[in-house]
């Protein structure tokens, strides 16, 4: 088979497996993703994972596998996905961006043409409706109908493309979707209207069908906008593997893309840089900020021989690291793998709109068919009905059963809700987020960085007074260590003239003030016996004076207590899962009044805890910020992560909030509840509308005027109802 792209070039070998990333186009719902995975995994040993929001497919297979075509598994798999009716392309962030831009442009041009045609046809339709019946007859009416068809037909062909294409794709692959009844109604309405025009008939439906397209395109466009935002955020993860790292190659240093790093290479990590790959320290000793990986507040000192992981930050001194795992095998990738697994075990979430769509198509087609058959029988019995009339009535049923609540009202509510959240610094990333958020009954918190500030605070500034305090603060300003920064934040500005500070990584700071030597650092460095408790501490000693103990604690966020009371008042149960030591976790939980606390958990334990809760039938909101929370975030029904969190958690989370406090959790929950109420109301409104309109159409009483008025009022009512979101709850 000849092909434009040879996928073999994009396959990557890792150990005894080969993996390949592909971009999949044409997926409309989670069940498409599921179908692709199932079909590929029918081959023994093949793993396939589809990320629906980024539209990415990852396949990996053993090197020894022979899936059919000789030695050409990559292309074989690509063909299989194509055979299911999807288009695949090698993954490429840039072309992905271009494609989504082109899609948006295309939709906007469809929308503009449909809008113009709707208005233009109104010009001709209004006199027909509002003038006395005898004023517009014969040749005048024919002329108007011809003008309308000249506008409506090209406009329908152009603006209807997104619907026709998707309906065609579905039908040719033995599936059905929402676009099938829409396309059918639009095509039949136009065909019948042309027939009526040619035969000097009484009624045409051009206006109703183009208006239907116009309203549905508005919904489509809003939906695309909302999904585009989610995709942008999800692609942040890829960006982590995009940067470059400095590799020492013999005498010189070269810049290498992080994804191309190979085990055995020597990596130079300057102070302040992020560590790009997992590895062992060869030379150098430095403070390593591990907060994003393990959730510990304080950096730890690491020297030669110690293992570091991608995502940690080198604080104080340059390090030479031997890479032990390529980017795809790093801890980061493992956690991403854990995330994807957690996501999969949840089963595809079916959105309300998709569930409604599944019901809609058969019901509407059944009704239309019943109408046609019913009127044919009626005609046969009375000998008066001709088949065109029966068909006309069946088409009227198709047109009038307006899918606006699904096609328009749900996206309008979601776009309004997400822009409302956006203004409050909360980014809604996933399409399912709002729906899932409205249904939670349990909130699970991470501790460090989520409930607490994640940065230590100086608890006993009073132990240092006068000049000592000024010296301590001035010294602390010279260092990036979190405890130093806590001291620096804790005091007024004061210069100490002639002070020289030296930084001893992993030990502390030493300063010369006049004739005095001043030390500030670890107990062991100052020769003070270690204290038994687990508090964070620094020791300060000036010249021959006594060593003074400075205490620090990771303070609970200012509004945490208030938010927790608020959540409880809304009937939610609360839990805390922490990777920190039991003593510390219990104290924070007691401060906040959370009774269900589990501590000392590894990332895997956290996932297990969340999954256990879900298995009990709870719907869980997980809030976390560390790499160790990422998998648990994916396992939960819905998740939130602060913008200060690591990229991976922001990728995994359904919501990302920018605020310093925790109040966004309340805001999001309340908005999601309000949005859910409105969506439900809209579904009921449109159901009620259909209950009235459908019998009218089935009985053959739906004139084009009734069809058009009914359709636009039903759309208007659901949109106006959605707009109430701005006023429902004052937060």
């Amino acid at each position: 088979m000849s092909r434009a792209v040879d996928f073999r070039c994009f396959a990557r070998e890792e150990a005894d497996r080969v993996s390949l990333y592909m971009q999949v186009e044409g997926m409309h719902c989670a069940s498409c993703a599921w179908k692709i995975e199932q079909s590929l995994q029918a081959h023994p040993g093949v793993e396939a994972r589809v990320n629906f929001s980024t539209q990415r497919l990852r396949i990996s297979w053993p090197k020894t596998l022979d899936a059919g075509a000789a030695n050409d598994n990559a292309n074989q798999f690509a063909d299989e996905v194509e055979a299911l009716g999807f288009h695949v392309a090698p993954f490429d962030a840039e072309s992905r961006l271009q494609a989504s831009k082109a899609e948006e442009r295309d939709l906007l041009s469809c929308l503009a043409v449909a809008g113009f045609a709707t208005c233009a046809i109104m010009l001709f339709v209004d006199p027909l409706w509002f003038l006395p019946a005898r004023a517009v007859t014969g040749a005048t009416r024919d002329l108007m109908y011809w003008m309308m068809s000249l506008i409506a037909l090209p406009a329908t062909i152009w603006s209807g493309r997104p619907f026709f294409r998707s309906a065609w794709q579905a039908l040719t692959h033995g599936r059905t979707n929402m676009d099938v009844p829409i396309s059918l109604a639009v095509i039949m309405a136009n065909a019948l209207s042309v027939y009526e025009t040619v035969t000097h008939g009484r009624y045409v439906y051009f206006d109703a069908s183009i208006m239907l397209l116009f309203f549905l395109l508005i919904g489509r466009y809003l939906d695309l906008k909302a999904r585009g935002k989610a995709r942008e955020a999800a692609e942040g993860l890829l960006a982590m593997l995009e940067g470059t790292a400095t590799v020492v190659d013999g005498e010189r240093t070269v810049s290498v893309r992080i994804r191309d790093l190979a085990p055995g290479q020597h990596l130079l990590v300057a102070a302040g840089e992020k560590i790009a790959a997992d590895g062992l320290i060869l030379t150098g000793e430095s403070d390593i900020d591990t907060q994003l990986v393990t959730g510990e507040t304080l950096p730890r000192t690491a020297g030669p021989g110690e293992r570091l992981y991608a995502g940690m930050i080198n604080r104080s001194a340059p390090l030479l690291i031997e890479v032990s795992a390529a980017a795809d095998d790093s801890l980061l990738s493992e956690i991403v793998g854990l995330m994807e697994k957690a996501e999969r075990s949840q089963g595809p979430y079916v959105r309300l709109a998709d569930r409604l769509a599944g019901l809609y198509a058969p019901v509407v087609h059944g009704l239309a068919l019943a109408t046609f058959v019913g009127w044919m029988i009626y005609g046969a019995l009375h000998g008066a009905m001709i088949w065109e009339d029966a068909l006309l009535k069946a088409v009227a049923v198709l047109i009038i059963t307006c899918p606006c609540a699904i096609g328009l009202a749900v996206p309008v509510v979601h776009v309004l809700a997400s822009s409302r959240l956006f203004k409050r610094g909360i980014l809604l990333k996933s399409a399912k987020g709002l729906e899932a958020m409205a249904r939670i009954d349990r909130v699970v918190f991470d501790k460090t960085g989520t409930l607490t500030e994640g940065t230590p605070r100086w608890m006993n500034p009073d132990v240092l007074t006068g000049e000592n305090r000024r010296i301590a603060i001035a010294m602390a300003r010279q260092s990036q260590h979190p405890l130093s920064q806590a001291i620096a934040r804790g005091g007024a500005i004061g210069e100490v003239p002639g002070m020289v500070v030296t930084d001893h990584p992993g030990k502390g700071l030493k300063a010369v003030v006049g004739k005095d030597l001043v030390w500030m650092g670890k107990a062991s460095w100052l020769g003070v016996p270690a204290s038994g408790d687990a508090q964070m501490e620094l020791w300060f000693q000036r010249a021959q004076g006594p060593a003074i103990r400075l205490l620090f604690a990771d303070a609970v966020r200012a509004d945490a207590r208030q938010v927790i009371v608020g959540l409880r008042a809304r009937g939610l149960t609360l839990s805390m899962l922490s990777g920190d030591r039991d003593q510390v976790a219990q104290k924070v939980a007691m401060d906040l009044g959370i009774s269900d606390v589990r501590s000392g958990l590894s990332p895997v334990d956290k996932v297990a805890a969340v999954e256990a809760m879900m298995a009990e039938g709870h719907r869980v909101l997980m809030v976390g910020d560390g790499l160790n929370d990422a998998a648990a975030l994916s396992a939960a029904s819905v998740s939130m992560s602060p913008a200060s969190g690591v990229d991976v958690t922001q990728t995994a989370a359904d919501f990302v909030y920018r605020d310093q406090g925790l109040s966004p959790i309340l805001t999001t929950y309340d908005t999601a509840r309000a949005a859910q109420r409105l969506v439900r109301q809209n579904v009921w409104i449109s159901l009620a509308y259909n209950l009235i309109a459908v019998p009218v159409a089935v009985l053959g009483l739906a004139t084009p005027l009734i069809a058009a008025v009914a359709m636009s009022t039903s759309s208007l009512v659901v949109v106006l109802n959605a707009l109430r979101l701005g006023r429902v709850s004052r937060l």
Binding site: R105, A112, F116, A120, L123, P127
Partner: protein, 48 residues
């Protein structure tokens, strides 16, 4: 009623002109990025 013979085509043509203008703007990329240009003023200048 004869005025309709002028006004209806006129309205139609004006609408068509607006549609053409919009499609032109769309295809020259005027709607591709609605967020960045507003904050571009805060970006440091490339030239000295």
């Amino acid at each position: 009623m004869a005025i309709l013979l002028i006004l209806v085509p006129l309205a139609f043509l004006l609408g068509l002109a607006c549609l053409a203008a919009f499609l032109w703007a769309l295809n020259t990329g005027q709607f591709d990025d609605l967020d960045d240009p507003a904050i571009r003023i805060f970006q440091p200048e490339d030239d000295e």
